[in-house]
């Protein structure tokens, strides 16, 4: 049974007060409570302040390319589906540069837990707008305010085949831990959009802002209802942020169909040697 300490890597370099501190802690707590150890989990990190968590949380990790953490995680899972795979990504990372991978991973229902740091900005490159930025948000790259409307990641995931879609808040560790654990328990593509204040570059979506604009879904809410789930997703546009599991459904995870012999992970399968079975077609 491992402890928080086992998962604790280098001292974080995040800005004091950054929402990432909470997310990092929640990740570690969830992993501990799930009875995992740094040796029994695969982590795929994007590039960003979010991705910098690679040095702060222990595990078998790959700190890959900006925007590609999901694509990388897909390969990890298919190669060894006995290990849980988490992708820790930024909103620019996942919805901007990596938008296409996110879209198609939803369709594939790859059994990956994606933790998205939704902070509305490109933190590590000093604050340009992310695709989650509210229309009109001013930044170095958009001095007159961003023209695009924000991406709707929840609706995107729900409509394109993701089977677990949740939202949580970096200011509520307990809720994050619960949500990450639920994502882990779900088999299939699991989206956890974490509302994360960037204290340095986004003066609007602060902790106070989210305290006022978030609310928790109660027991009466039925995440199996796709239309209702979309209704919840659309509330975000009115700056109302539901927290909890917004949508959940059942579908075989990708590796269960793609890995021929599911009982054994690809990496442990015995080598194919029946070459004669292949060459017939060449004769």
């Amino acid at each position: 049974m491992s402890t928080l300490l086992d998962f604790t890597g280098y001292k974080p370099t995040w800005c004091p007060g950054c929402g990432n501190w909470g997310i990092g802690m929640a990740m570690k707590m969830a992993l501990v409570e799930l009875g995992l150890s740094p040796s029994s989990v695969l982590l795929s990190f994007g590039i960003g302040c979010s991705g910098n968590m690679n040095d702060f949380v222990n595990g078998y990790a790959m700190h890959g390319l900006h925007g590609r953490a999901i694509a990388t995680a897909v390969g990890m899972k298919l190669a060894n589906h006995t290990l849980p795979v988490f992708a820790v990504v930024g909103d620019g990372d996942c919805y901007g540069e990596g938008g296409n991978h996110f879209l198609h991973a939803c369709r594939g229902n790859h059994d990956i837990k994606v933790i998205i740091h939704d902070n509305r900005v490109y933190g590590l490159t000093t604050g340009q707008v992310a695709p989650t930025a509210i229309k009109g948000q001013v930044s170095k790259s958009t001095p007159s305010g961003i023209i695009e409307v924000p991406v709707d990641p929840l609706a995107l995931a729900i409509t394109q085949g993701a089977t677990f879609v949740a939202q949580t808040f970096a200011g509520d560790t307990k809720h994050m831990v619960e949500t990450i654990k639920k994502a882990y328990q779900h088999s299939g593509f699991s989206v956890v959009n974490v509302l994360q204040p960037c204290v340095t570059f986004d003066k609007k979506t602060t902790y106070q802002y989210y305290m006022q604009h978030t609310y928790k879904l109660d027991a009466s809410y039925n995440p199996a209802d796709k239309m209702a789930a979309l209704g919840k997703a659309f509330e975000v546009a009115e700056e109302k942020y539901p927290l909890g599991v917004i949508f959940q459904s059942e579908r075989k995870a990708y590796h269960m169909e793609a890995v021929t012999d599911n009982a054994v992970p690809l990496i442990n399968q015995s080598r194919f040697l029946d070459f004669d079975a292949l060459v017939e077609e060449f004769i």
């Binding site: 029994s40 990790a61 390319l65 694509a71 390969g75 190669a79 690809l266 194919f272």
Partner: protein, 569 residues
């Protein structure tokens, strides 16, 4: 004995299948074959042609004239008549057109046979095959046995229907053109052969190498690999994935490689271009990956269904920043199988990206290869995974600095330890660093790997012909091997000794091992490349300081021909 059989018709009417059947039958009859496909970048309409050279010796390039031309339409005749050999046989449908000129007309009543047996247009191919076999002194058994195999699922009726059409074509020749029948395809005892394309050879090599993850996005002329590996998936257990784009393709493959399985990807220039960033990541993370790059004439979309060797320097320099990389370029199907198995070993031994360069000519042409030899090689092959380890203690350092530059690579999952692989510059333990000292350590370590490779695994160019005796020496790489080898033979027939220095270990180059072969001042060296810039020439200049004055290049999308080489010698 060597002859060319060629069939042409409208695109989308089974010309490819028919040509391949002919190649297989010739191989089954005991002959060597080499074939080449001509098709436009569209699915129907336009002209398709399929050309097969049959020989009693190994053959690796097209020959100048056509001995038997099967015209499923008039265009075929008009397009190819200038290449007809004296006494060439023309199989055609008298109801459609009649060939002019003095070649030998072999009328076959395609249309009326179709009417009679109420077959679809596509059946013309079967008739053509029957007629061709008759004309060349073959018999129908091989063809019929192929039908039996091919249409097994579709049932006995389909099989016998095909047999009937073949028979009709066969009879048409035997009955009314006996006097023109040749004996080219009379059964000949010879080693068992396989007929495969370069892409199929790569796919087969990848299976033999125990590659377990192949990811691709379709792109001509590389898609053959995806098709083959996908079709074998259920048997081999390989996970074969058609991803959303080429960036996903290579990043997933690197994820799988990190998790410990051998992984490969494939594309052509455009898709490869999208993988360049991740190739650089493979460099710094030291994750093995094999990349099949099948070139076509560029730039950009270019001429998708034609051939060129225009991406040698691009492949060598692909990726931002400085890192080691190995580039191989097999010259034919058999070499493709060998070098593909080798590529996976080198990727694992040096933990680097290995690019296997091909082009449309190699990827899509069929060649007959020795069944026994290859099956032996494949079966005795034991993958060398280099310093891959499955256990380590807590102090494991992923990027440990070592003598040979290679660090032990632990398969994730081992208990009681963990590590990260990192696209940032890193400490030996994998954590991000900006330290000048650590940076130098890691750059030097990565560079060291290639020094080790050059000393331990680099293989010097193959020599074809007699280098000592040769006054003229051709220098080429990859698919030019085929035409250059034929040129060496041809020259010898003409009483001239020439040799060919064949590069397949393209980059990095071992200066000493290579220089010796191409710097004898008493010889005339000629660079032979299927591109416009003479890229191997530039590479030799850059890496060895050797500059070659003479070159023969071709860049119209067509393969070099033996005649083109001979005439310039």
């Amino acid at each position: 004995m060597q002859f060319t059989w060629k069939i042409g018709g409208e695109a989308g009417f089974g010309i490819m299948t028919t040509g391949l059947l002919f190649s297989k039958i010739a191989a089954r009859r005991g002959y060597h074959i080499f074939d080449f496909i001509v098709y436009p970048s569209l699915i129907r309409g336009g002209h398709n042609a399929y050309e097969v050279v049959v020989s009693d010796e190994p053959v690796s390039a097209l020959k100048k004239d056509i001995d038997v031309l099967v015209c499923l339409n008039k265009e075929t005749f008009d397009t190819h008549k200038h290449r007809l050999a004296p006494k060439a046989r023309i199989i055609f449908d008298p109801e459609v057109f009649s060939p002019d000129g003095d070649s030998i007309a072999i009328p076959v009543p395609f249309t009326s046979i179709l009417k009679e047996l109420q077959g679809q247009v596509i059946m013309k191919n079967t008739i053509a095959l029957g007629a061709s076999l008759a004309l060349l002194g073959g018999d129908l058994n091989e063809l019929n046995s192929i039908f039996t195999k091919q249409f097994a699922k579709k049932g006995a009726e389909v099989i016998s229907l095909n047999e009937q059409f073949a028979q009709k074509g066969f009879d048409a020749v035997v009955l009314s053109n006996k006097e023109h029948i040749l004996s080219y395809l009379t059964k000949k005892e010879d080693k068992k052969k396989m007929v495969m394309t370069g892409s199929e050879a790569f796919a087969y090599g990848a299976v033999a190498a125990d590659c377990r993850f192949y990811c691709a996005y379709p792109m001509t002329p590389s898609s053959g690999v995806l098709t083959s590996l996908a079709s074998w998936g259920k048997k081999t257990g390989m996970v074969v994935r058609h991803a959303e784009d080429e960036i996903a393709v290579i990043n997933s493959a690197l994820g799988a490689s990190f998790a410990g399985v051998r992984s490969a990807v494939g594309s052509s220039g455009g898709g490869f271009a999208l993988m360049v960033e991740a190739i650089s990541m493979s460099g710094i993370t030291e994750l093995p990956i094999v990349i099949y790059l099948s070139q076509r004439p560029g730039p950009a979309t270019g001429m998708p269904t034609w051939t060129e060797q225009g991406e040698l320097l691009f492949a060598i320099h692909a990726g931002h920043g400085e890192f080691p990389k190995i580039v191989l370029a097999p010259g034919d199907q058999q070499e493709m199988i060998e070098l593909t198995m080798k590529a996976f070993d080198l990727a694992d031994i040096y933990q680097v990206p290995v690019i296997v360069l091909a082009d449309m000519l190699l990827s899509e042409s069929h060649m007959s290869v020795p069944y026994g030899e290859i099956q032996n090689e494949v079966k005795k092959h034991i993958p060398n995974r280099g310093k891959l380890i499955t256990t380590a203690d807590g102090t494991y350092l992923r990027y440990a600095v070592t003598e040979d530059g290679v660090s032990p690579r632990l398969v994730p999952g081992e208990k009681n330890t963990f590590y990260q692989t990192n696209s940032y510059e890193h400490l030996e333990n994998g954590h991000t660093t900006e330290s000048d000292v650590e940076r130098i350590k890691q750059v030097d370590k990565r560079a060291k790997k290639m020094k080790t490779y050059l000393a331990s695994n680099f293989i010097a160019p193959k020599i074809i012909g007699n280098l000592q005796a040769a006054q003229t020496v051709l220098i080429g790489w990859g698919s030019t091997k085929g035409v250059a080898s034929e040129a060496v033979k041809k020259a010898k027939e003409n009483g001239k000794e020439i040799a060919y220095v064949h590069f397949s270990y393209m980059y990095p180059l071992n200066k000493e091992k290579v220089r010796a072969l191409i710097t004898d001042s008493s010889k005339k060296y000629i660079l032979v490349e299927n591109n416009s810039e003479g890229q191997l020439g530039k590479l030799l200049q850059m890496e060895l300081g050797v500059s070659l004055e003479n070159k023969i290049v071709r860049y119209d999308g067509r393969p070099l021909t033996v005649e083109q080489l001979i005439e310039k010698i």
